[in-house]
Symmetry: C2
Subunit: 137 residues, 2 copies
DNA sequence: AATTAATACCACCTTAAGATAGTATTAAAT
DNA sequence: ATTTAATACTATCTTAAGGTGGTATTAATT
């Protein structure tokens, strides 16, 4: 019932980056200290986010990362999908992926409503719509 | 965003047991074959469920397990709590446990509604209210 | 050209969940 | 009493997520 650690970090970093001015460059060292996330682990995550075109990497001495789009154009579902491409199936409590009215798991009838709500929320919530306080836990 | 394997198995077994006559005894061998769950792993789970008083264990030659209460008196939240005592905090996407209006995570405002729905569902859904078909995936 | 500060890559370590194996205990049936 | 079929216990194996370490590459500064 929780997003995994990697995705949580990704959301926190992108939230942090979307709080500043557009086009601001952030380096991982500073981000890792500010958000209290392991530097090495964070570089790994940033590289993945970069390849997924959510952020842009600039190498070299005054390099860093910046958002690739406006915060309003990055939804939670986009971030999660990078690390968990099967997010839609994974929102299911019993994790049976393929299901129709004839083949449904024990909890389908009770779960389908909250599931739809969550999916909608993840699709509609973008980086500029979320609370930027308390980004380090 | 998914219940862990152990909890999923527990729900499936208890669902299966609640489909039959009251007081029916089930042995783990048969259950494991019927539901296609590893026998050894299932005995472990059953022992835990027994200690949590959701089922009653009867040792010896004609032993087995039976439900300790009526299906209508066992809610999903009761099953989940056995293996995940912090379920209430674990329903949070970013997994920050202790939070109030002043200290809330980035997703609190968006999440609080679905969270409440899920919690309500887990509390109100009992074993006799769920679909007993397709218990083996 | 050399230095420096950044990202990128590759291989490994650590931990916890998931699963298995072997043995002990219990109690009905014979 | 012995056998047998069940649960109970303890220790270990496996796998994937989480996390580290070391080095290569890039490009501005000097
Ligand atoms: S049957 Fe319904 S609740 Fe179950 S896994 Fe499929 S979509 Fe999800
Ligand atoms: S702040 Fe809200 S959403 Fe975040 S962990 Fe706490 S209760 Fe859950």
């Amino acid at each position: 019932m929780q997003l995994n650690n990697t995705v949580q970090y990704a959301i926190r970093v992108l939230s942090y980056m979307s709080a500043g001015e557009e086009e601001t460059l952030y380096n991982v060292k500073a981000l890792s200290e500010e958000l209290e996330i392991s530097y090495k682990f964070l570089t790994k995550i940033m590289t993945v986010l970069s390849k997924a075109d959510l952020i842009v990497s600039i190498r070299g001495r005054v390099g860093g990362f910046k958002l690739a789009k406006k915060p309003s154009q990055i939804a939670l579902i986009d971030i999660i999908s990078v690390f968990d491409p099967n997010i839609k199936e994974d929102i299911c409590l019993l994790g049976l992926g393929e299901c129709d009215s004839a083949h449904k798991c024990a909890l389908h009838d009770q779960w389908i409503k909250p599931k739809a709500d969550i999916q909608k929320m993840l699709e509609e919530t973008t980086l500029d719509g979320i609370d930027k306080n308390n980004l380090k836990f």
